[in-house]
């Protein structure tokens, strides 16, 4: 009985962490996905120099800050290769903005949006992920 109680408590803590992980991952990837979509819309509208667009700089800055804050925690429960892949794309998006490469920035924003959507779905206990 004592052992059963101990293992139940350990499992409860583990499950609490698992639920917390799902909620946090979902919220962060949803945020990144929506920011990437906004960046894509702003890039489509922009006809001049993208490095001069303040709204675009603000959106990408927000996206980069959110991911930088989260990436350390993400390493606790995500495959590190995936975390590195998202970091790489976020850094690239920021660099393309500074170097005024509109098409590259658009392609990278597309990749970030698709990847974060994929990661968001992967964190949920859906049948496709379970089987």
């Amino acid at each position: 009985m004592k052992k059963f109680i101990v293992i139940t408590l350990i499992l409860a803590v583990t499950l609490f962490a698992a639920v917390w992980e799902t909620v946090t991952l979902n919220a962060t990837y949803s945020y990144i996905e929506s920011r990437a979509r906004t960046v894509m819309t702003l890039l489509e509208k922009e006809n001049g120099s993208i490095s001069q667009n303040e709204e675009l700089a603000e959106q990408i800055g927000n996206l980069e800050k959110r991911w930088t804050d989260f990436s350390c925690a993400a390493n606790y429960y995500c495959n590190h290769a995936v975390v590195k892949s998202v970091t790489e794309k976020v850094v690239m998006l920021s660099a393309y903005l500074k170097t005024d490469s509109k098409t590259d920035a658009y392609a990278t924003a597309c990749a970030i949006q698709a990847l974060s959507k994929e990661m968001k779905n992967e964190s949920l206990p859906l049948i496709g992920n379970l089987l």
């Binding site: 293992i7 499992l11 583990t14 606790y76 590190h80």
Partner: protein, 229 residues
């Protein structure tokens, strides 16, 4: 490499705690499902320990979950005879009073050669020397030989009360009357079968009782199914 080193140390302590919680049984004494869970835990523990890209937490969740299921199954097995039979299986008689029980042999995916081979491995060359051969749920073979009990009728006890619960199937086989058992218990100041940890009956009607609080005892009663097993 320092990461792998630290992960290995943490894995060691985690597996150590989990194995201690799961019990001290040796591999040969484990039930089949316990062995499978132990092997899976060993495999799961290795993955995050060796791969720096996989977080440690990805190993903790399956280890804790499997340990919970194993301990939970053991806990329920203690409470329910039905569940115990489903999880661990029951002992199977391969040789009984009628000789080799071919039906049971087939159920265990064994043939007569396997049985003879196992008997020889147990130090029994002649089948005629054997009275009973039982395969226990953990896979071990128990051989009861004729010469062990010279001048005395060889009996095979079957359980009738386990953890305060009647073993209905065995009671039916042995032809024991529950009323007789309860009368014996009342005579010893025991209120009901719930206070008995274990009780079994032999073909000659001898019943053994092990009670929770107090000394174990045995008595003879009349049974109608002494020739049934």
């Amino acid at each position: 490499m320092l990461v792998v080193f630290i992960k290995s140390v943490i894995t060691f302590f985690l597996v150590f705690v989990i194995v201690r919680l799961m019990g001290k049984r040796e591999i040969g004494e484990m039930q089949p499902f316990e062995l499978v869970i132990t092997l899976i835990i060993a495999e799961v523990a290795c993955i995050p320990m060796n791969d720096p890209y996989i977080p440690f937490y990805a190993g903790v969740v399956p280890i804790v979950t499997l340990a919970f299921l194993q301990i939970g199954a053991s806990f329920i097995s203690q409470k329910s005879l039905f569940f115990r039979r489903k999880i661990s299986g029951a002992s199977v008689l391969l040789i009984d009073k009628n000789g080799i029980n071919y039906d049971n042999l087939t159920k265990l995916n064994m043939n007569v050669s396997d049985l003879i081979e196992s008997l020889r491995s147990n130090g029994t060359a002649d089948v005629m020397d054997v009275v009973y051969v039982i395969i226990e749920p953990n896979g071990k073979m128990c051989v009861i030989k004729k010469e062990q009990e010279k001048g005395k009728r060889i009996t095979l006890p079957i359980s009738i009360i386990v953890n305060g619960r009647w073993c209905e199937e065995n009671i039916k086989t042995s032809g024991v009357e529950k009323v007789n058992i309860l009368n014996v218990l009342k005579g010893k100041g025991i209120k009901s079968e719930k206070d008995v940890i274990y009780s079994d009956v032999r073909q000659n009607g001898t019943v053994y009782f092990s009670v929770g609080k107090g000394k174990d005892f045995s008595t003879d009663i009349e049974i109608s199914g002494g020739d049934n097993w």
